[in-house]
């Protein structure tokens, strides 16, 4: 049953993940010293994974956009097309059905956003590519942000699942978690606190998702 849900969800979110991977590939290739438009190599002077580097900004923008798109696609889309009525009548508990959706969405998000980080880090770790030393610990901030994307995803999922009369009120969970990413970014030196905040907020959002999935009306 999980496989059936996972395949369905993957089929539905594949275009979003594919678009994110294409943009990531473009960005990583560009940052590793190849001008994608002219195919001319150029000298890389930026130091990867620095706090305000282009790549960190890129990960934040890409990850946040993908997390919002995935969360809304998996929740609001089913409301809009009325397919919750089909899905939720399958003989499985609502907790299980929603859980399968969430696990698939989270795995897609984490895998898709991890790909450019790993690719860029591997390039940076390869001797001769950078005119500066590279240590894997330099990627700590970006991995923390990567993990914190789960908050945005769950916030978007909750926004799509919550019944609301207006778009503004529907998006309240997303608005509520908006300050979290800057806070976690600022907590990079105390990464354990950042991880703890992420886990705590994820747990709160998951509880809210399960509660709303169980109590909301599908009409």
């Amino acid at each position: 049953m999980f496989k059936a849900i996972a395949i369905k969800e993957l089929r539905e979110v594949a275009p979003l993940a594919a678009a994110a991977l294409i943009v990531s590939a473009y960005c990583v290739v560009l940052l590793t010293g190849l001008n994608v438009l002219t195919f001319e190599p150029y000298r890389v002077t930026a130091i990867p994974f620095l706090d305000r580097s282009v790549f960190v900004t890129f990960v934040i923008v890409l990850g946040t956009s993908l997390a919002i798109a995935l969360g809304l696609r998996q929740s609001a889309w089913e409301s809009g097309t009325g397919t919750y009525l089909f899905l939720l009548h399958r003989p499985a508990s609502r907790y299980w059905l929603m859980g399968a959706k969430l696990i698939t969405g989270l795995l897609v998000l984490l895998a898709t956003t991890a790909a450019p980080i790993l690719a860029y880090a591997l390039w940076a770790a390869t001797p001769g590519n950078l005119p500066a030393p590279f240590r894997w610990s330099m990627t700590g901030t970006v991995w923390l942000l990567w993990f914190a994307m789960t908050i945005v995803y769950l916030g978007a999922f909750l926004s799509g699942l919550r019944p609301a009369r207006w778009y503004a009120t529907r998006l309240l969970p997303l608005v509520g978690i908006a300050p979290v990413m800057p806070i976690i970014f600022l907590l990079q030196s105390k990464w354990m606190i950042g991880v703890a905040i992420t886990i705590l907020l994820d747990a709160i959002l998951l509880a809210a998702i399960y509660r709303i999935a169980e109590t909301r009306e599908y009409s």
Binding site: M1, E12, L85, S219
Partner: protein
């Protein structure tokens, strides 16, 4: 558990009530659908049919009362019991990006008793190709796929919310006949809502009519048709008012005639007609088909409609029933 084995009803509701805001859309519904019956659930638009069906399937929560499907409370319906119930939602929502084959492969793992041969037979019956994308199917074909998906797990109970909505006359008839042929052959119970009376008349052996959220009729289809009569009283001049009495649904003046719609027209009504002043020049008692009976019945003064529960003695005027 004992209830599950002994109950004669596939669906039972007790005082089921639902509010949307201040509006009571379903009002103290006591519905009993006997096992093995085809139950037509009727009502005008906005009468509360879809809301009731969504409450039965757990998609909408009741504000009061309770409902049981196959002997189990709908609020605590176990997956194993849900597997014995098929639900075809209004508009047949399916994943449009999938092909018929993909929808089947998605649905099949949820059911232990999935009958792939039956699914294929139904597709063949409707000339549906597995590779066809759901989004490219017509409304009628989507309804057919829905029916195949609903029937393949061999359910004991099928709940269909206006399954023929949006289908043209030919497709509708074909769909309904196939539905009965396919579904009803093993004594399954079917509850289907509709506002197309000719459809219901053709397939339902029992009907329930919901008027403003109140179940006003719950009886065999033939009984309802036979119980309602249109009585046309022809006068020479202006027709007089007709006195209020048990069973009177409506009284309308049309030129020099007065048209009455009466439930269980009998001696009491004849006496009233004969004792009227002036006495009518002629009295004509007309039988109605289900559609006419439904129209005449539901356009009467709604809060004081006589209530049918299957027996002549049960027909009574309940002027307070369901009043908000």
């Amino acid at each position: 558990m004992n209830d599950q084995q002994t109950s004669d009803y596939a669906i039972e509701t007790h005082r089921l009530t639902k509010y949307y805001g201040d509006r009571r859309v379903v009002d103290g519904l006591d519905l009993k659908v006997p096992r093995g019956s085809v139950y037509g659930f009727l009502g005008r638009n906005g009468a509360g049919k879809s809301t009731t069906i969504k409450m039965l399937t757990g998609m909408v929560h009741a504000d009061a009362g309770c409902a049981r499907l196959l002997g189990e409370d709908v609020d605590a319906l176990r997956p194993a019991t849900r597997a014995r119930i098929a639900y075809l939602a209004e508009g047949h929502p399916l994943y449009r990006g999938m092909t018929i084959d993909q929808v089947e492969r998605f649905t099949r793992p949820f059911y232990r008793d999935w009958n792939s041969d039956l699914f294929q037979q139904i597709l063949d019956h409707f000339d549906l190709v597995r590779k066809a994308k759901i989004r490219r199917l017509s409304n009628g074909q989507r309804a057919q796929v829905s029916l195949a998906l609903g029937v393949a797990p061999e359910p004991e109970l099928l709940i269909l919310d206006d399954p023929t909505l949006g289908l043209d006359t030919v497709v509708r008839r074909d769909f309904l006949e196939s539905m009965i042929q396919i579904i009803h052959r093993q004594g399954r119970t079917i509850l289907f809502s509709s506002h197309i009376l000719s459809d219901v008349e053709r397939v339902a052996d029992r009907i329930g009519i919901l008027v403003d959220g109140v179940l006003r009729v719950d009886c065999p289809t033939d009984h309802f048709k036979q119980s309602i009569r249109k009585v046309v009283l022809e006068y020479t001049g202006d027709p007089p008012e007709f006195p209020t009495c048990d069973g009177l649904v409506s009284s309308r003046k049309v030129g020099t005639t007065r048209e009455l719609v009466i439930v269980n027209f009998g001696d009491v009504h004849r006496t009233l007609i004969e004792s009227a002043n002036p006495v009518p020049r002629s009295v004509e008692v007309l039988e109605l088909n289900l559609e006419d009976a439904f129209i005449e019945y539901t356009r009467g003064p709604r809060r004081s409609l006589p209530i049918f529960t299957g027996h002549k003695t049960d027909v009574q005027s309940h002027s307070n029933q369901g009043a908000a």
